[in-house]
Symmetry: C2
Subunit: 281 residues, 2 copies
């Protein structure tokens, strides 16, 4: 059992290239994704560049609105302007925002059909009532991995994360897909026993080495959705060398879930535009 995340990503990329090419013809222009940032640090700029690179690859126009720190008060109006602009198809608000701004609150101005990050309460509500439109990219990537691994319907997925971008939407998305889901949080009692009782364990805690061999059994599939920097290295939550000796499969970090997240933002954009313009996928 092993997933080739690179080829899954390549497969999605080529599907997107074809889809956006059709769309551009019927729109008479390239689809436009706009990223909004305030005084972005180097990491954010790197991430924006990688999204721009993918956009170019698949025929999407990537625009950036970068406000200086002193212009932060203009952020909400800028988002409203983009929300009302018919020439903008998707909007991303880049984290981090300056102190006093919460992405969740600013993002509420984005209408569901442009919310390619799936962060607004309206997007999450559509997921909760099984009318999915935009899916938060990390949660989306995890469901793609679970489906690619052919995890049988009804299986028990234990999710160690309850954020609004991973655990909560993921629980609803997996429920929509006929899986049984447990959402754990920092107060969870007997976390290791609960994790061991699952068929799949999703971890996104943010602590390198957190998920050790106590959390798994010989049948466990571990999906590591964390990104930690420890000892100058990028790693997930999993004590990889020990856990992979026990568990059936562990997704790698880097080169696992994170390989899929940027392309899935564009899959959100494509699906939403196809729906708005009633083009069959």
């Amino acid at each position: 059992m092993d997933l080739d995340f690179k080829s899954i990503s390549a497969e999605i990329t080529s599907e997107l290239t074809a889809g956006f090419s059709d769309l551009s013809r019927s729109l008479n222009r390239a689809p436009v994704l706009c990223a909004v940032a305030v005084d972005p640090p180097a990491d954010t700029l790197t991430y924006m560049r990688s999204k721009r690179r993918i956009a170019k690859n698949i025929g999407v126009e990537f625009r950036e609105v970068v406000l200086a720190k002193e212009e932060a008060s203009k952020l909400e109006n800028k988002v409203i302007e983009l929300a009302n602009d018919n020439g903008i198809d998707g909007i991303i608000i880049e984290s981090p925002l300056p102190a006093g701004f919460k992405i969740g609150e600013v993002a509420e101005q984005i209408p569901p059909e442009k919310d390619v990050d799936g962060v607004t309460s309206r997007s999450q509500g559509l997921i909760a009532v099984n009318r999915e439109l935009m899916l938060p990219a990390t949660a989306y990537a995890i469901t793609v991995a679970i489906e690619k691994l052919s995890v049988p319907k009804g299986s028990h997925v234990v999710v160690i994360n309850r954020s609004t971008i991973i655990g909560r939407p993921l629980a609803m998305m997996l429920t929509n897909r006929d899986y049984t889901v447990t959402i754990c949080n920092s107060k969870t009692l007997n976390l290791r026993a609960i994790a061991r009782s699952g068929n799949v364990i999703v971890t996104a805690v943010g602590k390198a080495g957190f998920l050790n061999a106590d959390f798994v059994n010989s049948d466990s599939i571990v999906i590591d959705a964390a990104i930690n920097f420890a000892n100058g290295k990028l790693m997930g939550d999993t004590d990889y060398d020990n856990v992979r000796n026990v568990a059936r499969y562990v997704t790698p970090v880097p080169g696992g879930i994170g390989q899929l997240t940027p392309v899935l933002i564009y899959r959100n954009l494509l699906k939403s535009l196809q729906k708005t313009h009633e083009i069959k996928a």
Copy 2:
């Protein structure tokens, strides 16, 4: 361990009476809840009458809009009219609707601040991002019972239901309250073992006798949120006589969760009006 649902209901009722009395003074009128039904069967009429009785008791004006079967096509416009009417504070669409109408779809016209049944995707989205406003009454009643039972934070609640009015919002609401939650569905593998592993089991399957002693251990708390008619009797999902000999506690049906649901609709109305009019509770 035992809950007195009658006195919990009475306690909520007296809290509501005081709250609505304050509100009526500041609104200069009684708050208004409007129920909309199309060709309602006898059961629905009975339920509407019981809501009307509670309304009278606590100082809320209860209005009814009952459309004949031939007028069903006017339903959506009627709901939009009520949604825009400043004299209407809460809207309930009564089930069942005639074939071809889905409550979830018609209800989407209700703005979040009037959605006292908590059924719209916008209400569910607010729950999902931990900014609860309106809570679906059965899910709400279950959280009240869990809190009254002083179930420790972090405990594991296994929910056997994934509907948009019980299981899904309940999972998010319990996550908001620091519980660990498993959402099961009809495809769930090893359901009995998962139920036995929980501290609390919530059942709302709709089959009398479904939840038998195999689902529980001696520490289990069973919250039965089902309403079934079997052999001319009202009963829940639980094989009550057998399960209560094994488990720590089982909520009764009738006289359990169902005792709380109608009053909690009015608690939604009160909280929303207090928020809109910025009155402190």
